[in-house]
């Protein structure tokens, strides 16, 4: 029984990481109408930037997390402004995206990998922070890393929820995600709001990277696996739905962890996709998704 609980806890913390990245993918999808295939590299970049901040200033992890989120968010805004927006302007703006944007996302992913390779080199780097002593909850003892990952991710998700529900800018973000033309007629600066959406999505990806850093090495290719898992999470939850992205992330994490624990560890990457296929067979729109585009 304890083994089962351990696996679930590990799965949940892993799932939170997937969820954070999946939220970013879903946010960008609902706000910009594009699937951002370079989001795994944003996660990687976030981890490296966090590591740099830590190595330079030796700040405590929460500050490293915030610092990396801010910087990576700004990098994301720059990428969106300089590259994506120009490409999409030719096609009539973000609503007519199509194939060019998908290819561009893949291209950006390769570019970012190589930039990271040039800056930080091919070697996996350790993130020399420890999360601290194991936490005891009743009869079970948990490694602190997993507990703190879950706590930090929950705090970030709660903050995002409050931002979207309670602030003027958050309301504008939801309006732009729902319908850009009407958002314009409300007096919303749509191009600026799109940058905000992209920046927030990248900041969440960076947070996932920094949280994972101390239990994993930071390396150039770390974004590949996470993109595919987060993508599966977003699809399972229903593309564009933020609660769906979180739930999908948790499901992927737990199923993967249980599968690795009870069936076979060497196939752990396929469990998520088997689940994705099953969910799509039963509910093609995903758990929280709607086929017709009614959002915001």
């Amino acid at each position: 029984m304890n083994y089962f609980i351990d696996l679930v806890i590990v799965g949940l913390s892993l799932g939170m990481i997937y969820g954070l990245v999946a939220i970013g993918i879903s946010l960008i999808y609902s706000g910009l109408d594009v699937v951002h295939f370079a989001h795994g590299e944003i996660y990687m970049l976030g981890a490296y930037i966090g590591l740099m901040i830590y190595n330079t200033f030796h700040l405590p992890l929460p500050l490293v997390l915030v610092g990396s989120m801010v910087l990576t968010g700004l990098v994301g805004v720059a990428i969106e402004r300089v590259f994506y927006r120009r490409i999409l302007r030719g096609g009539g703006g973000y609503t007519v995206s199509g194939m060019a944007m998908v290819i561009c996302g893949f291209g950006m992913s390769i570019v970012l990998q190589n930039v990271a390779f040039l800056i930080w080199g091919p070697r996996a780097m350790p993130f020399p922070v420890t999360y601290g002593m194991p936490v005891e909850l009743g009869t079970i003892t948990l490694p602190a890393a997993y507990v703190w990952i879950v706590v930090a991710a929950l705090l970030l998700m709660a903050a995002l929820h409050l931002f979207l529900k309670k602030t003027r800018l958050g309301l504008a973000v939801r309006a732009v995600a729902g319908n850009k033309e009407i958002a314009y007629l409300m007096g919303i600066n749509v191009p600026l709001t799109i940058s905000v959406i992209f920046g927030v999505a990248c900041a969440l990806g960076a947070a996932a990277g920094v949280l994972v850093g101390p239990i994993n090495y930071v390396q150039v290719l770390m974004g590949l696996g996470i993109l595919i898992k987060a993508f599966a999470a977003a699809v399972i939850g229903g593309f564009g739905s933020l609660p769906g992205a979180v739930l999908g992330g948790l499901l992927v994490g737990v199923v993967e962890s249980l599968g690795a624990g009870y069936l076979s560890g060497s196939y752990k990457d396929i469990y998520a996709f088997i689940m994705m296929i099953i969910v799509l067979m039963v509910r093609p729109a995903g758990l929280f998704g709607v086929l017709a585009k009614v959002k915001a």
Partner: protein, 250 residues
């Protein structure tokens, strides 16, 4: 410059892509008046509205609002100047609550007091919205949605509103309620341009009317005169509503 006019459009030419829809539209809206813009489907009404609110850039011509050129400005800048387009009821955000939709209308007014005052004013015009303020907008009826969109337009305290077919797909009794509210909003100091297919209702509401056809203004005149104009001309206006009304009128 024309101080009596709130909005002056001169020779607007425009369209989508390479398709030209507006072939030189000129119109004026005097301060504090309701002006009706009439026309059937595909005559260029909506395209003209989009040009006025900035969603498309006119290819040539000028638009002056409150004494300043606004053609070519981004839509959100035009809203900040005080010219707001009220969308059709179906274009409220269905997944937001009624109050969220209203607050969205006040996006350009961050001050808490202004937003609260706007809500109060909106609920004053349409008390039903206050009852439903916590409900999902998708659960409202067609008439309530239209009320919501008008109220949402008021939230930014504009100088002038452009109304896109406020009677579309509504029952006659509901249309009457909506038009009463519009006329009250005008009496309290608003300037309005109302785009309509419901010719007779619109001309009863407005002081001046324009008929647009094939992307140009075809007929214009004082609303009273237009109502009493001959049936042939009214049949331009798209048909059966006007025609039937003519037979009933003495």
């Amino acid at each position: 410059m024309d101080v009596a006019s709130m909005l002056v459009a001169r020779d607007i030419v425009g369209g989508y892509g390479s398709v030209q829809i507006l072939n030189g539209v000129s119109l004026k809206v005097a301060r504090g008046q309701i002006v009706a813009l009439l026309g059937g489907n595909g005559t260029g009404k909506s395209t003209l509205l989009k040009a006025l609110s900035g969603l498309i850039k006119p290819w040539s011509g000028s638009i002056e609002f409150d004494g300043e050129r606004i053609d070519g400005l981004r839509p959100d800048r035009i809203v900040r100047r005080g010219l707001v387009q009220v969308t059709q009821g179906k274009e409220a955000y269905p997944a937001m609550t009624v109050e969220e939709n209203l607050l969205l209308g006040a996006h350009v007014k961050p001050e808490r007091a202004v937003r609260a005052r706007g809500l109060e004013r909106a609920y004053g015009y349409f008390p039903i919205l206050k009852e439903r303020r916590r409900q999902q907008t998708g659960t409202l009826s067609g008439g309530q949605l239209q009320m919501l969109c008008i109220a949402r337009g008021l939230m930014s305290e504009p100088k002038m509103m452009l109304l896109d077919e406020p009677s579309a797909a509504l029952a006659p009794q509901v249309v009457l309620d909506i038009f009463r509210a519009i006329s009250r909003i005008c009496r309290e100091g608003m300037t309005l341009l109302v785009v309509e297919q419901n010719v007779r209702m619109a001309l009863l509401l407005a002081e001046y009317g324009y008929v647009i056809k094939d992307g140009v203004i075809h007929i214009e005149g004082a609303a009273e005169q237009m109502i009493n104009d001959d049936a042939v001309r009214l049949s331009y206006l798209g048909g059966t509503v006007a025609g039937r009304d003519r037979k009933v009128a003495p």
